[in-house]
Symmetry: C2
Subunit: 344 residues, 2 copies
């Protein structure tokens, strides 16, 4: 089968790889019908050292079940399924607590022998725990939005939940990428009254406004902090969704949080230490969040999409086939595209 | 009047200073009947650069109201009162939210012209908002425990609340100082089933056991992490109370938190950055806490002391008068005493 491999920074290729197939009785084999490129794929795209063997890429997909192992009880051939970006068994203590990203039998697509999602098919371990059947046909018009349940909408939601967004809050979203935009949707859904988005890309902040953002802050660094304080009567935002992961973004997030407020961080951290240890202490700012347990949120978020109350799929502004994947990385990296949908 | 001044590291003196007196109509004048030395006073004791004018010391006290300004409505001469370690007006948005440490009219004892508490008397700004009348006589046997409402019990409670301690939790307390010991009391009160204290001072960990600790971890660093994991089935503690503030203590706290758990930090941070930005992200460990809003917690904690359900005053193992203050600092710094009570 064909799948996407990364051989180093900027070096993405679609190549022939061994066909995915059932290896364990708890596996399912899924033919990928929709996948996409993630903002987090751009970190290795900028920095991956040169590899002899390519790194399988992609961790978001929807597909059709082609085969199941003997122990798979809740899935059957032909099911249309969405896969969260992390494998989980659905039965361990962490899964029971809703933290599927810490599953004791977990795994990550493309890592440790698992297939990547930017390919024709995927072997899915712990299939009963990992996959969620979707009550739609394979080419349903809602596919782009449903695909965001894999990661980007669930991650924006996790940022909002971690930042403790509640009815009437003023919320700031740091970052106007696809996760930040989904964070706006999530914050609005949880009752935020005012939503400030920090970003400087016109087409993205416009979409943010359509999703519910009330103010756009295009400044950066100290100027961004000053502007947010000005817009919030000097106090900052009750909840801050940090959707970038750089030191600057983290520091800005901490600075614009209201005293007693919380930062929900979902941007993959590009630093070893969190800045502002004194600032957050003196002002009792909570820092929460991390890798989003998408699997835990799907039961809550799926009906929102099926019933048309949210349209996170609008973050996809480009659609390609497998041959287009290398150029899709380039386009996202150069910010020509917000998020690229792949139809293998 | 006489009061304690610090002139540099290790240089604590009790000297004559101008008498405290009413300056604003919202002030009260309080004759100090009990004060104490705080673990946080030891940071300047170790590191304060030499000063020509001494720094007034002390931020925890109980006393008797001697006079009130014209606008003070809820206090009168003769009232026995406890003062939280931060001044607050009780009426601003932050006070209304229970974050009195961020009061817009706040202040800190000994800073910006305010008197320190390790002296004969204190001018109390925002007296109606700051002081809490105590329904006891001036020499009640409960005085040591009541004095801990100023800071140390409220701070231990804040650590537990920030770490989201709930019924049935496994809790780890990093640090066996007075705050850590009060954290044990607070964690037990909030329903912790198992309480691990990380400390290596026999007399302190023994008191911790009397307060409700179930396990003592005397290892440090990596060995402490390994031991906590061993004691918790490999997963760590649901809630970690960080009561030290050094980089080592913070890092240990993050490492021993269960994935999805929380660290409530109340140790004054001795670092600019929080270690473990990746660790906390990958495992969704929340970092919360900060300067404890003691004033907010007094209504909940006061009855616990009055009705004898908790005895945080047992952290005082030494009692001195004003003349004894310099030696009290030395004794706490050399860990001869856990916490020193002052009767001016």
């Amino acid at each position: 089968m064909r799948a996407t491999l990364m051989f180093g920074a900027g070096d993405v290729r679609v190549e022939e790889v061994p066909d995915a197939s059932i290896a364990e009785p708890t596996d399912a084999l899924v033919r990928v019908t929709r996948a996409c490129i993630c903002g987090s794929d751009l970190w290795p795209y900028k920095s991956l050292p040169s590899l002899d063997d390519g790194q399988p890429m992609g961790h978001e997909f929807i597909g059709v079940v082609e085969d199941v192992g003997a122990d798979v009880a809740h899935l059957k051939r032909g099911d249309v399924v969405v896969a969260p970006f992390v494998v989980s068994d659905g039965t361990c203590d962490f899964c029971a607590e809703g933290l599927h990203t810490s599953c004791v039998n977990g795994g990550v697509w493309g890592v440790g022998g698992l297939d990547g999602a930017q390919g024709e098919a995927v072997r899915v371990p712990q299939a009963d725990g990992t996959l969620v059947p979707l009550p739609v046909e394979v080419d349903d018009a809602l596919m782009p939005s449903l695909l965001t349940l894999s990661d980007v909408f669930a991650t924006g939601h996790h940022a909002a939940v971690s930042a403790r967004v509640k009815e009437g809050d003023t919320v700031a979203v740091v970052g106007d990428g696809a996760v930040g935009l989904c964070g706006v949707i999530a914050a609005r859904r949880l009752g935020a009254e005012r939503i400030l988005i920090l970003g400087r890309h016109e087409e993205r902040t416009s979409l943010a406004r359509e999703f519910g953002a009330t103010d756009v802050v295009s400044e950066r660094g100290k100027e961004a902090t000053a502007r947010v304080r000005e817009l919030t009567g000097g106090t900052g935002a009750h909840a801050v969704l940090e959707c970038v992961g750089t030191e600057d973004a983290l520091f800005t997030a901490l600075k614009i949080a209201r005293s007693g407020g919380a930062v929900g961080r979902v941007g993959v951290p590009q630093v070893e230490s969190l800045p502002g240890a004194q600032e957050t202490f003196m002002r009792n700012v909570t820092v929460s969040g991390g890798v989003a347990p998408a699997r835990a949120y799907i039961p809550e978020l799926l009906p929102e999409i099926l019933e048309g109350r949210v349209e996170p799929g609008r973050v996809f502004d480009s659609e390609i086939d497998l041959d287009g994947v290398p150029d899709g990385y380039r386009a996202m990296n150069e910010r020509e595209a917000i998020k690229v949908l792949i139809r293998p």
